[in-house]
Point group: C2
């Protein structure tokens, strides 16, 4: 038979071996648990939405994957009007507009799902066409306290601290501060969007020349890109009349972030944080790993005034942040920053030396499973050496071995596969003995 | 501003409110834990694969959603050669062919992901265009013991028992038995596929007339559709010479399923189980809810001889089963069979009667979270009555209330929101008192 080459599509290629998938799943679980710890509730939205929903904010058409049918089909609006979501924020806006009568506000939701973007994939920068985002948002109806803007970094602080990925820094800024600075430097309002998008490129490109072309002074560029600590920045902003409101907001949020328990070592004001999207109106966030600047921002977001303006007359102000998990995972793995797994699901392998006794092997397995211990029974006919080789390969921590002799005496051998030690124990001590071995006793 | 109507695409509409999403997530977690309990390891595969990979088995083109770009784009093979997976088996075949050197065989994998099919949506039958599948497969390299065919139903038995969804029945059959019966009734080999696909429709359509058109006797139809218990069926099969091998296999698998701990009340042989796909070669499974026949099969699968024949010269025999979770969830919900959640993530709301004391409220929350209790602080300015109304609406179980008086005395009121009772406790007993209330003490 002619074979099809088993390969993946470029950018749709973040597929892991089971050991890495376990690791990835543990991170998802950690994030989910942390989000729930702070009172966020889960939602999931369909992968495909109406194109007019996805493009309602405008400006993203060029990155969207639409759906079509491989063969002609009648009556399939998904294929004529549907496309894959490119983020979790637009679906959230549609969700809130559609279901607000059934939600309690402020609505605190988390969402951990894949998104799809037709960008140019760059594996070494962690940029893919299909990737996971882990979002939290707090959405008010008509109003939302600035305290929500302070709580968001505290949740992220808790998540990243628990991940044990080394030092990180949540850098914050305020869009009103940025707009005030533009006015101070006489950038006209209608140019503000374009200038902010240039500033957003940071040091990556020839920003200074681009700004010059827009008639922006080098002084402004220097002001936003110079490094200062939080106090210095707030002092500096006090000098600019146009920044008054933004600076006051930023100061209040900084103070509240401290109250929410985030130490100054883990966050700070950085005027260079811009977040190009027009969407943001207040505090904005980016997060980087201190020891690994090359990884770039692993978590970003901000405050917005009106989440669902394209779908509803009700105003839903909110604040949210997004962890780009596929990207973060790929960079952590590359940088060797993934903590070893405390526990794999492959805990105990019951080897089957003598398949006559299958019932006894199965009973051992049932006993261990009932005690919450993950247990597999080796079902193929194979020499015990091959069974143990399989156990090593899959990463089991304990193997049980028993044959005619052991069964006659009511015992079983418990083999610690990492320490390469074994001991014979009475069958009625099975659960306790296996737990001791798993706990490293 | 002109508004876009916030609606979903037909068939891409299984989107839940947070309370239902929590329920769904708990089922996923239960399934995941059970699968890992039996030594299955997780994988996830990309949503989109090469079209030639997806269509390698043939015959599915008409249900596949392909990707295209909404705007013109260069160099995007996903948009010219990619399509969304319609099941988890073809991606598994590609995965195994691609990565078999890195896997331990027998390879036991589970996969819980969405799939997409351009079928006609029928909400009342739980048929959607986007839905979750939860698959397990055991895949051998060149060989695989029949015991794997017996273990699969025992895993499913464990999952459904734990779900507490009432009585269910795993019905099994064997493709060799079916093919033997066709030979007994003189159906030519080249017609076998067509006849099995007709039989697969069960009682749903005018099966008898269709069989007649294929020249199949009514006796065969009666034979496969009549209800018998497992022993009667095995006795009956002993009469048919052409079924010898299949009947022997089926009998061995039945005996092993019992050894694996599945009671006869939860499984049985049913000659009416056909599984239309040519793909299956041995034991086949379907699972139904005894009290709710209208729900149809909620879990099905079978044994196959060669998973990755389209991708590899190596033979990978396997056996697998798939839970259609979106469908199951939709039907369980409709039938009122969802068990109430033992625990919601919304456990404790710290109300903020006097925002001057924000630091103290935040400290209470931090203390509770450190003890593993999900805790939210109410951050908006609102009367205490409105804060408690929010707590009720979101389903919190406990509210903490403290103001000038309580803080002066170092106490806090712990309000049990379901029992509508409250007590004042010293702050240093906070964790213990909240736990007592959550535990229903």
């Amino acid at each position: 038979m002619e074979k099809v080459k088993p390969t993946l599509l470029r950018g749709f290629d973040q597929e892991y071996l089971p050991q890495d998938q376990l690791h990835f799943n543990r991170l998802v679980e950690l994030i989910r648990t942390s989000f729930e710890r702070y009172g966020f509730l889960p939602i999931e939205t369909p992968s495909a939405e109406r194109r007019e929903v996805l493009t309602s904010k405008g400006g993203v058409e060029k990155e969207i994957y639409a759906l079509t049918r491989l063969a002609e089909a009648d009556d399939d609006e998904a294929a004529t009007k549907g496309a894959l979501r490119f983020d979790l924020t637009v679906p959230l806006a549609r969700y809130v507009a559609m279901r607000n009568r059934d939600l309690a506000f402020p609505f605190r939701r988390y969402q951990i799902q894949r998104v799809w973007r037709g960008e140019t994939p760059q594996a070494n920068k962690g940029r893919f066409r299909e990737f996971y985002q882990c979002d939290i948002d707090i959405i008010g109806r008509e109003k939302l306290s600035y305290l929500a803007e302070a709580e968001i970094p505290s949740v992220i602080y808790s998540v990243f601290r628990e991940m044990k990925i080394g030092e990180f820094r949540i850098r914050i800024n305020n869009r009103k501060v940025l707009k005030g600075l533009l006015r101070e430097f006489s950038v006209k309002d209608e140019k503000a969007g374009a200038v902010l998008r240039i500033l957003d490129k940071g040091e990556k490109e020839d920003v200074r020349a681009q700004l010059q072309r827009e008639g922006v002074s080098a002084e402004l560029h220097q002001l936003v890109s110079e490094k200062r600590d939080t106090r210095q920045t707030l002092d500096l902003l006090a000098k600019f009349k146009e920044c008054e409101q933004g600076a006051a907001e930023l100061k209040a949020v900084v103070e509240a972030i401290r109250q929410f328990g985030v130490p100054d070592s883990a966050f700070g004001v950085d005027l260079g944080i811009v977040r190009g999207l027009d969407y943001y109106t207040g505090t904005i966030y980016e997060t980087s790993l201190t020891g690994h600047p090359e990884v770039g921002s692993v978590c970003s977001g901000g405050r917005y005034d009106d989440l669902a303006s394209h779908f509803s007359d009700t105003r839903f102000p909110g604040v949210g942040i997004s962890i780009g998990l596929t990207r973060l995972f790929s960079r952590l793995k590359e940088a060797g920053l993934l903590q070893p797994l405390a526990r794999t699901p492959a805990e105990v392998l019951v080897t089957t030396m003598d398949r006559q006794h299958l019932d006894k092997y199965l009973r051992m397995a049932a006993t261990l499973r009932a005690a919450g211990i993950n247990t597999e029974v080796y079902l193929e006919e194979a020499k015990i050496g091959n069974q143990l080789a399989y156990a090593d390969r899959k990463g089991f921590r304990v193997a049980l071995i028993a044959g005619e002799n052991e069964f006659a005496q009511g015992t079983v051998q418990v083999k610690n596969l990492s320490a390469k030690t074994a001991r014979e124990i009475p069958l009625d001590r099975l659960v306790a003995a296996v737990k001791e071995t798993l706990d490293g006793a």
